[in-house]
Subunit: 358 residues, 2 copies
Amino acid sequence: MARELIVALDGMGGDFGPEVIVAGAEIAHVRHPEVRFMIFGDETKIKAELTKNPRVAGACEVVHTEVSISMDDKPTQALRRGRKTSSMWMAIEAVKEGKAQVAVSAGNTGALMAMATLCLRTMPAIQRPAIAALWPTMRGESVVLDMGATIGPDAEQLVQFAVMGEAYARVLYGMDKPTVGLLNIGEEEVKGTEIVKGAAQILRSDVTGLNFYGFVEGDDIGKGTVDVVVTDGFTGNVALKTAEGTARQIAEYLRAAIQRSFFSKIGYFFAQSAFRTLREKLDPRSANGGLFLGLNGLVVKSHGGTDAIGFASAIDVAVDVAAADLVRKISTEMEVFAKRTEEKSAEVESAETGATVS
Amino acid sequence: MARELIVALDGMGGDFGPEVIVAGAEIAHVRHPEVRFMIFGDETKIKAELTKNPRVAGACEVVHTEVSISMDDKPTQALRRGRKTSSMWMAIEAVKEGKAQVAVSAGNTGALMAMATLCLRTMPAIQRPAIAALWPTMRGESVVLDMGATIGPDAEQLVQFAVMGEAYARVLYGMDKPTVGLLNIGEEEVKGTEIVKGAAQILRSDVTGLNFYGFVEGDDIGKGTVDVVVTDGFTGNVALKTAEGTARQIAEYLRAAIQRSFFSKIGYFFAQSAFRTLREKLDPRSANGGLFLGLNGLVVKSHGGTDAIGFASAIDVAVDVAAADLVRKISTEMEVFAKRTEEKSAEVESAETGATVS
């Protein structure tokens, strides 16, 4: 029998706090009736929301906390105010202590990353954690990382992102050998920063054992050219927000164009189902949930401004990765990778020594 | 009387060569009947195209060249094969020699940038050139730079991009004080790379005299939050291609959604004019034309895969900037900026000396 799956929720995170968190859990409960929730935060407020969402109430344990991290708290402020006391910290700590398998928070990214890193620590072979997003593509969906956890990673760190992202895609999509691409400004080997070129060199060798596609460009993300897109946190964050901005811009163009004439409005009436499909495709709520990778425990970050439907999507991601035991899988990958790298450099060394002797 | 405006065209550049270049000039000729063209390339081929486009033929001078740069030539190869002999080089040299006010090429970006930099040289106060794109926004259009000329610029170079981009926006949009934003992963001062933070510090001081808005994020580009968006070439290139990819992805979603049902197809019939408007809004050809900034002469890069309509847009950009004497304006700006920076550091020095004395 499968072990019971418990998801820890930061009940006070996000722009709307318990109202959205509990309503999101209610939606998630319908999809995952077997999952139990630990909700951390203001007991009175959370219990009031639970009476409005009676179905999930039976699957919830509420743990009272006094401190809430605000959306504007800087990471250092958050740690000072909320370490060991806030709903955010307590949700993460529940994962550390094995009381839950994954934590979900809609709180601010900087504070959440700082707390998660301090509480859970990075995995032995990982230097810096990354945030992985799910990106809707023409072929389905891809994993894109890092979305902003790491500014200025080096080549080796990008390779670590690749290994972690690949494990995530494998677990999430049930793929045997997901393809991995490095985001660059051209497909030719000579293009790009030294860091990207260095990472490509490692990925092209056989030390990682990944299905490395090579360089991809910005438009390849939406095309779904590869299953995993690897980039630094600055570029990844700009790319994601640019794509979101473009989608909103086009939706606005379309709305304005439809409004312009009587015939267009009639057309809209007939094509309503098509527009609904399009709206669903473009709904940022369905792709909500950034996974923190590289820590000794699973934490999912939901958009702060999302509603219950969006928060439920973040819980979906959490349930998927927790059920698949992702942390253990990534640890194993990283060990194999570290061993291969060692063997490789030993080989190179002995070859060099040999050359000197002969 | 205004001086005659002459545009030099690389007749052999792009995926389709003279066919698209000459047909593009024909379209541009209707909009700018006063402009004359010098077309460099294979005389036989170009003249054959001119007989098909008789209106522009009277406004063209054809200069025969033997060598054409291919779309795959690396910059070094291009220089070796085509320096002083290729259609690309000759078009740029025409600008240097004052025979034309601007050059337009649909040839490969790396080769064009290498040749333009070698032939025209960077302006005295500019360390590295940049490529500025025109980005359609909800408010109209913005200038975004750098789109890929410079990998890994420092803070000072980003500031130079800001000064150049602002001058471009002023000339292009006839604005008095265009707003300038620095692309970052958050609006807070603490976020981002050291380079971006350093550039912001300089832009916030009054040495540049720019209307500096502060940091903007990826989704602000499409919103049109600022008139000029400044970023490094890697990020800018990824952002542009990601936006193009997202636009194509949504167009594809929409097409598929419309095809799905009979009623949607009826709706499409009625809303045709709305869809046409949307298509025009999203047409990448209308925003074609990346301007090289920071050189002692004007060069416009057209997409290599564009058609005559797209190439005509690149000529539009060229005519606009040449008519406005942009190079001289940027030079003047940069001198003022350099002078202010000097005065500022002199002030700081004398203040420091004063402090030591007292």
